[in-house]
């Protein structure tokens, strides 16, 4: 795990990344079925399944439905997903019969860049024709953002990731603001929650602009503001995220160790 330790006054030291993963896992308390991106979302979903949400159905883009990996998958093609799934379907089926009809409660995404309306960029940094950094590309994120009943986004926050203007709109969150999803004909509710290593954001009910609703312990609003590339809105009733419990931390650290101890992926799918 990377990140900075919170002040040593806290009884159980934990990193900002651990707080982010724990807050992300807690957000899945009411979901029945989660479409899981690899990386931070996968960590969160597996932590939820190991703590408060053992019945959570994990769906991975590679077609693994109801995967119950006993360690973190190293990639979307990690064979442990298919081996532990209750069903494995083809990618066309995932898209056409699961995602697009809105059968998934929560789509959980990561992002390289995000703007104030929770639109995300996973395509390029810089000019499209000759990018400064070429990223992997859209993958399935646009469909997930369009069609899941709601979307959670988890990413590390900085002025480079929380930007005024995306270099490329890969997946549409709330477009240009309130009413845009309906105008575009996007069926899901879109992003309802953004979790970072600094705090938690929710869209304003009218304007759909992201509003800081929680800061993590030890983080003040000014620090969040400095890591935000636009004029940040802060909720009147700003709360502090409860620190990770011992149980949550133990489960998370066991998951992290499980990835390090994973068998040679050369033997996996």
């Amino acid at each position: 795990m990377t990140g900075t330790d919170v002040p040593p006054t806290d009884p159980v030291p934990y990193t900002a990344d651990e707080m982010m993963s724990v807050a992300s896992a807690r957000a899945l308390a009411d979901a029945r079925c989660c479409f899981v991106g690899i990386g931070l979302p996968s960590t969160a979903a597996n932590l939820a399944r190991r703590t408060h949400a053992p019945g959570l159905v994990l769906v991975y883009e590679s077609g693994a439905l109801g995967a119950k990996p006993d360690r973190l998958p190293a990639s979307i093609g990690d064979g442990i997903l298919a081996r532990t799934a209750v069903a494995v379907v083809s990618v066309p089926e995932v898209f056409n019969y699961w995602l697009q009809p809105g059968r998934i409660d929560v789509g959980f995404l990561g992002a390289a860049q995000l703007d104030r309306f929770a639109n995300i960029n996973t395509t390029v940094i810089g000019d499209y024709a000759r990018p400064t950094v070429r990223l992997p590309g859209a993958g399935g994120a646009p469909e997930i953002a369009a069609s899941c009943r709601e979307v959670f986004i988890v990413l590390r926050q900085s002025a480079r990731s929380f930007v005024r203007r995306l270099d490329f709109v890969t997946s549409v969150g709330h477009g240009g603001g309130g009413g845009d999803r309906a105008r575009l004909g996007l069926p899901g509710a879109g992003p309802t929650l953004v979790i970072t290593d600094l705090g938690v954001f929710r869209p304003d009910p009218q304007t759909r602009e992201l509003t800081l609703t929680e800061v993590h312990p030890g983080v003040d609003v000014e620090r969040v503001r400095a890591a935000t590339g636009w004029d940040l809105k802060v909720a009147a009733d700003l709360r502090t995220t409860p620190a990770p419990t011992d149980v949550e931390l133990a489960a998370l650290r066991q998951l992290a160790r499980s990835l390090e101890a994973a068998p040679d992926p050369a033997r996996e799918g």
Partner: protein
């Protein structure tokens, strides 16, 4: 037929669909045969992995049509990244769902298929030729009219095939190989092993026969033909070798060294060089 015979039927400027997904069950022996040939100026349609990276590194790609390019355990193919960042390859950027809709339209010989994917994204801004269409029914919904992605040729790799082109996957995931073959005018299958047809049926249920001979123009037996991508259950991804491949994206000198060490000769010498690489590492 041989991989070189398959490639001899390709022409400069063709649109080639490549099967597999990311760094999984890619028809790498066929890709390596393209590298040995002079075929160039290709439009490559792929759920992209090192197939796209290798062909870009070798300067054979005019345009890549993709929803992502990734090596799975390494998020981005460094050769594709380098080619894009120096503006050496044109890009038609979709997402997985749009690409799928385009291939399904081509497979069904329809001009387009409607989809919600892409609405509001920069994919539409960058592809001004993409049109939307209004549902003619009471809902009146505005949808993206994803045009058919017609392929001149599809190249796929499966675990087993018979000599007629009936081809079987034995791993957990079919990927899009069947759709690609159906979308193409001509398809070629490479496989780990060519077996008699009745052995195919003993090897798995009928639905594991992903590709039908009706779609296939030729079959190549290419053991380890997906190397270094995975071809489970025959073998997994060769992660040490994939790291070696990724490191060769660092600069032209590293790439030339990779070419000299692994790709200077035929498929047999490639596999020997891979074995030597592992022997040296052990």
């Amino acid at each position: 037929m041989s991989a070189d015979e398959v490639v001899a039927s390709l022409r400069d400027g063709m649109t080639v669909g490549i099967g597999g997904w990311g760094s999984r069950r890619k028809p790498m022996a066929l890709v390596r045969a393209i590298l040995r040939s002079s075929v160039t100026d290709l439009t490559v349609v792929s759920y992209g992995g090192p197939d796209v990276g290798l062909l870009c590194a070798a300067g054979r790609v005019r345009r890549a049509v993709f929803g992502f390019v990734s090596l799975d355990s390494i998020p981005l193919d460094p050769h594709f990244r380098a080619a894009r960042q120096r503006g050496a390859v044109e890009a038609t950027e979709y997402d997985e769902g749009m690409l799928l809709a385009g291939l399904r339209a081509a497979a069904a010989r329809l001009p387009f298929l409607p989809t919600r994917a892409g609405l509001g994204s920069d994919v539409l801004r960058l592809n001004p030729a993409l049109r939307t269409v209004a549902s003619p029914y009471a809902d009146g919904e505005e949808l993206v009219a994803m045009p058919a992605i017609e392929l001149d040729v599809a190249l796929v790799h499966l675990n087993r095939a018979d000599r007629h082109g009936n081809a079987q996957y034995l791993g957990p995931d079919p990927y899009l190989d069947d759709v690609l073959c159906a979308a193409a005018r001509r398809s070629y299958v490479s496989c780990e092993r060519i077996v008699p047809t009745d052995e195919l049926l003993r090897g798995g249920p009928p639905q594991s026969l992903l590709v039908s001979r009706m779609h296939v123009a030729g079959v190549v037996e290419a053991p380890r033909g997906a190397h270094f991508t995975s071809c489970v259950p025959d073998y997994g991804r060769d992660e040490p070798f994939q790291r070696r491949y990724a490191a060769s994206g660092a600069d032209p000198v590293a790439w030339q060294a990779f070419l000299d060490e692994f790709l200077a000769g035929d498929e047999r010498s490639y596999l020997a060089a891979v074995d030597a690489f592992h022997g040296a590492a052990a």
